[in-house]
């Protein structure tokens, strides 16, 4: 008789802790020593773990083999089972951040060393990596003899022609037409514009005289032989062209209508030649 047995089943069971439960199942707690309310449980466990009867012992070998096989299969299943995923180390937030920064820096350094970053970023990356002893090309390292097309606002304020200058030039110049436009364009682009230097009507002569009879011959002549005549006009116009030898009597109107509607070959060039004829 002890303290616990005095209270056995006479009082409400006390909360059972895990260690006591473990010792009860291990058989190290006698029923008399069990906590209140658990003496009968201890006896029940004793009975369950009682010594085997002779009949049970006769089947001991068979039972042991069966249990051993069950334990082995359970252990092998457990060892190969992906129930638990053990990480080699815990990835904390700081470690994740550090890994991300390192990866970003590595990628940026790689791009910077290849000179593949945009100009401003390449400039900054070059300066920053130079501080840690890494030499990467600057933004203009691969430019060769090409001038830098990037400018700054200070360049614009000092060198660029102002809007008022352009307006004054446009209102005071004696030039007219293409020459006036070319002069304004050159002034606005600081001499870079080549407007008026190509395709000047004054520099060339129309390949055909106007007025002409139009038609296939005129289109061929106006295009410098590039027009293949009626078939090309038909093909270009999707069959809508009425130009050709059959409509030669219609003359210039037919060629113009054909070129104005669909055809851009032959007769189109002819009309352009007429338009630029001074």
């Amino acid at each position: 008789m002890n303290l616990w047995s005095d209270f056995d089943c006479e009082m409400h069971p006390v909360p059972l802790d895990l260690d006591t439960a473990d010792r009860l199942l291990a058989g190290t707690v006698a029923p008399e020593d069990a906590p209140p309310g658990y003496a009968n449980v201890a006896r029940l466990l004793e009975s369950a773990a009682a010594a085997p009867t002779p009949g049970e012992l006769s089947r001991e070998t068979e039972v042991v083999a069966t249990v051993a096989a069950a334990v082995r299969s359970s252990s092998s299943i457990e060892s190969g089972s992906p129930r638990r995923f053990f990480m080699p180390f815990a990835l904390s937030r700081s470690r994740m951040t550090a890994a991300f920064v390192a990866l970003t820096l590595a990628c940026s350094a790689g791009l910077a060393s290849a000179g593949s970053l945009p100009g401003a970023a390449q400039d900054i990356a070059s300066a920053m990596l130079a501080k840690v002893g890494i030499s990467v090309p600057g933004p203009n390292e691969h430019a060769g003899t090409h001038p830098s097309v990037r400018g700054s606002s200070s360049d614009a304020s000092s060198d660029a022609v102002t809007r008022s200058d352009i307006a004054e030039l446009a209102t005071t110049t004696d030039l007219t037409g293409i020459d006036k436009g070319a002069a304004i364009s050159r002034a606005a682009s600081d001499g870079k514009s080549q407007a008026g230097q190509h395709g000047s009507a004054s520099g060339g002569s129309a390949p055909v005289d106007t007025p002409n009879n139009g038609g296939t011959g005129t289109a061929d002549t106006a295009s410098g032989g590039k027009s293949s005549g009626t078939s090309t006009a038909d093909a270009a116009s999707g069959g809508a062209s009425s130009a050709g030898s059959g409509n030669a009597s219609n003359g210039q109107e037919t060629a113009d209508s054909a070129s104005g509607d669909h055809s851009s070959v032959g007769s189109g060039n002819g009309s352009a030649g007429q338009a630029h004829k001074p």
């Binding site: 309310g37 009975s47 129930r83």
Partner: protein
């Protein structure tokens, strides 16, 4: 069952009658354990009948040792409650 459990401490293992009584008590105890929820019954049987410890049982049933301890703790609480109810029934009938 409860009376037999209470008598089991005085049974003589050499006496055939006592052996028969013990066998019936064992069967009754196993029946009680088998009436538990399957996972709890499995843990208790492996602990008591097979004589394994919590870690070995955990390896067999595929749980952590802590989970096994929780299961066996719940099983003992449930057994205690059932035995207490049975005792109250016996007391009322007597």
């Amino acid at each position: 069952m409860l009376n037999s459990l209470e008598r089991s401490g005085a049974s003589d293992p050499v006496d055939p009658e006592a052996q028969a009584l013990t066998a019936s008590e064992t069967e009754a105890a196993l029946a009680h354990i088998a009436s538990l929820p399957p996972d709890q019954a499995e843990v208790v049987l492996l602990r008591v009948v097979a004589g394994l410890d919590a870690e070995e049982v955990a390896a067999i049933v595929g749980k952590k040792a802590g989970a096994v301890r929780v299961l066996q703790h719940r099983a003992l609480k449930r057994l205690s409650g059932r035995l207490a109810r049975e005792r109250r029934k016996v007391d009322v009938t007597e």
